[in-house]
Every structure is written in structure tokens, then in C-alpha cells.
């Protein structure tokens, strides 16, 4: 055996397989990463996904992977010992009929970068949808984070496109909400990565 299995689209009908609660089943991956014991600053991520015509995409799914508030990843290779096991770190959210998705999570701490220097806090993101033959990889950074200016990965992105990776903070009724719209194509096309 040699060579990896090629990627394919999730198609339009993935919900009952990947988000079965939409069809009365039981989810094992959720859009809330919070547990009663998790520590850190609670935040909400909200956004809408658009196609190249600016139309909303109602059949997309977003997956996220992030460190806990101390920058620990819940994984054997997570570098810092003793990851916060109350925090799974992995989330999944479908878009609804309006193209909206959301996550309730905690603001991640800093994770080491390719040069060993700390990265700005970020959330790793994959986007799946009908018409997307291989999931699209991007990152969420935070608008109120000074460390963005020094981040090695943001530094690889042309300056005029970095805004597409920044979630803008809007405090609402005491909750911290970050807005992160995703444009698969078009004038505001989100920066996607080849990972």
C-alpha cells in the first residue's frame, strides 16, 4: 500500500452522520467546548459563511481545534504537561439556513510556534461543505490581541489580507462575542492555508 486516500466533499447530506442531533441522534462532538470545570475566559465565536456570489452557505460545517486557557493542547504531543482535561479543545458546528455557525469556548492561551517563540492565541479551523473537495483550513485570531503583531503565521499572510483572519470583538449583554465570517471566494476571500 502506498499513497494517501484522496479527500472528497462531504456533500449536502452530512448532518445526520456528523451532527446527528439535528436528526434526533446523539452528538459526540459539540459546538460548546465548555464544561463545568473548565477554567479560562468564556467567549463565543459567531460567523456566517459566504460563497463567491456573496450568498450564504447553509450546508457547511466548521471544525475547530484549540489550546486551553494556559496554552495546553489536550494531546500527548501537547508540549506542556498536564493539559486541562476538562477542556476537550475540539468543536464542530454546522451552518443553519442563514449560513450561521457558532461556538462557545474559552479564549485560548499561547502555543509555541515553528521557531519555538509563542504564537498569538488562535483557533485552528477546518471548513467542510458541498462543493469543497478538500476541507479548507484557516485560523481565527482575536482583534483585541497585541501579540498578533508578532505572530509568525500572520506574518506569512499579505498585510492587506490579514483582516480576514481576525475575529472582531463585540461585547453583548456581558458576554464576550467574536465575529468571524468566512468567505470561500470573492472580494473578501478568507485566507486559507495549505497545511
Amino acid at each position: 500500500m502506498s499513497g494517501i486516500t484522496p479527500s472528497s466533499t462531504v456533500g449536502p447530506y452530512f448532518l445526520y452522520g456528523l451532527v446527528p442531533s439535528t436528526y434526533g441522534g446523539t452528538d459526540i462532538i459539540f459546538n460548546s467546548l465548555l464544561t463545568p470545570d473548565v477554567s479560562g475566559e468564556r467567549i463565543r465565536i459567531e460567523g456566517r459563511i459566504f460563497d463567491g456570489d456573496g450568498a450564504v452557505i447553509p450546508d457547511a460545517m466548521v471544525e475547530t481545534w484549540q489550546a486551553d486557557a494556559e496554552g495546553k493542547l489536550n494531546h500527548a504531543a501537547g508540549a506542556k504537561a498536564g493539559a486541562n482535561t476538562a477542556f476537550k479543545g475540539f468543536g464542530r458546528a454546522p451552518t443553519n439556513a442563514e449560513g450561521d455557525y457558532s461556538f462557545d469556548t474559552i479564549r485560548p492561551g499561547s502555543v509555541a510556534g515553528p521557531d519555538g517563540k509563542p504564537q498569538a492565541p488562535h483557533i485552528a479551523v477546518n471548513v467542510f461543505a458541498r462543493g469543497v473537495l478538500r476541507h479548507l483550513t484557516t485560523r481565527i485570531y482575536f482583534s483585541d490581541e497585541k501579540a498578533n503583531a508578532e505572530d509568525a503565521i500572520l506574518g506569512l499572510v499579505p498585510a492587506d489580507r490579514r483582516d480576514t483572519l481576525i475575529a472582531n470583538r463585540h461585547d453583548r449583554d456581558g458576554a464576550i462575542v467574536y465575529r468571524f465570517d468566512i468567505h470561500l471566494q470573492g472580494d473578501n476571500e478568507t485566507v486559507f492555508f495549505e497545511a
Binding site: Y13, Y16, I28, F193, E194
Partner: protein
Amino acid sequence: MSIVYPSASLRAHPRYDFEKYRSTAKRSPKQPLIILPHTLSELTGPAYGHGAIRAGDEDLTRQHAGEPQGERIIVHGHVLDEDARPIPDTLIEIWQCNASGRYIHVVDQHPAPIDPNFTGAGRCVTDADGHYKFVTIKPGAYPWRNHHNAWRPAHIHLSLFGNAFVQRLVTQMYFPNDPLCAFDPIFNAPEDAAVAARQVASFDLDATVPEWALAYRFDIVLRGRNATPMEH
């Protein structure tokens, strides 16, 4: 900058803008992708609570009061990385239409019967040797509107995680000798026909259970790590 999972293997994947599959036209990025060095965010993998998977989640024929209509099948295989190392303890999720080519999904309007005894979704975790097994029903072909007289070959969707964010894979499994594969843009989206052929399962007489179910073997290969030690 270290790329721990070699990028050459990504050539197996289809282009985002594949015009024969019409839905890519407005959903594929036009700007070049930015090469992402692999940091701990990419090298670590999803933790979501494996304990939530229940016994029986891998048998799609036993989720309702009665037996589903159609041809009962066993789908099994190994999950390996490209260096032929098994990937144990990784989540696989599957979903598919029923034997007549109809999905439960409300958007599916194909005028074929819904099977009250078949939802078409399952999941399992690979064992210590990277092996997995599902029991299900052979899915039917169904029409879609991509082009004139377009029919999807019988296929099962599979979602895999691996041990790292960069190993994430969603793919589709097809059946041997299906005449529709030759005409299907999604099956043929990989540039290399030999790569596309990796999506076809093989009939497995040895795993077939007499008087009960035919078996198909579908091995799945995720990206492999090279020898570069991880930075800490």
C-alpha cells in the same frame, strides 16, 4: 520552519476548482493558499471524548425496530499512515443513503422510498491494530443535477481524524465494477486516475459471512510523519 507531515502527499487530493463538479465554481478559493508551517496546533489531534461512542454504533442495520431493506454488507479495513503504520484509536464516522438511493436528509428530494428502518449513519473507533468494521446496507445510486443524466455511483461517506489536525480526512468509498464511477465527477476529481481508484473497496470473500452478508475491504491511508523530530 518545519513541515513534519510531508506536503508531497497532498497531491493526491483534488483541486478546489474542478469545473466538472459544478458546485466548486463559487466555493473554491481563488487566492493562492498560504503554506502553513506545522506548529503544535497542527501536530496535535482532536480530543472529543471517545467514551461517547456506544457499542452498536457500528451496526447501521440495528438502529430501528425492524431490519432495513436492501443488501446487508460488512465494510472493514485498516487505517494506516502512508508509512504503513496502523493508526489505532481513531474515530471513523460514516453516512450514506439507503438501498434505494434516498437520504434521510430533508433536502433530498429524489423520489425513492425512505426506509423507516435505516437512518444511514454510524461510527466506530479503530482497534489497537488500526482495524475498523461496520455492518450496513449497500447504498443505491441516485440522480443529482450536476449535468445531464448525472447519477452518483453507490458510495459511503467516511470521516477520519488520525492523531493530528493535519491528518483530518473526509473521503468516499465506492464499490468495485460500478459502471457509474466512469461518469462521476466527484469520483474522478483526483487528477491521477490511479489515485481516484484508491477510493474503490475490494470484494472480500474471506470476510463474507455465509448465509448473512457480503464483505468489502476498504483500507484508508492518512498522511504520515517524516523523521523530523518535533520541536518543543
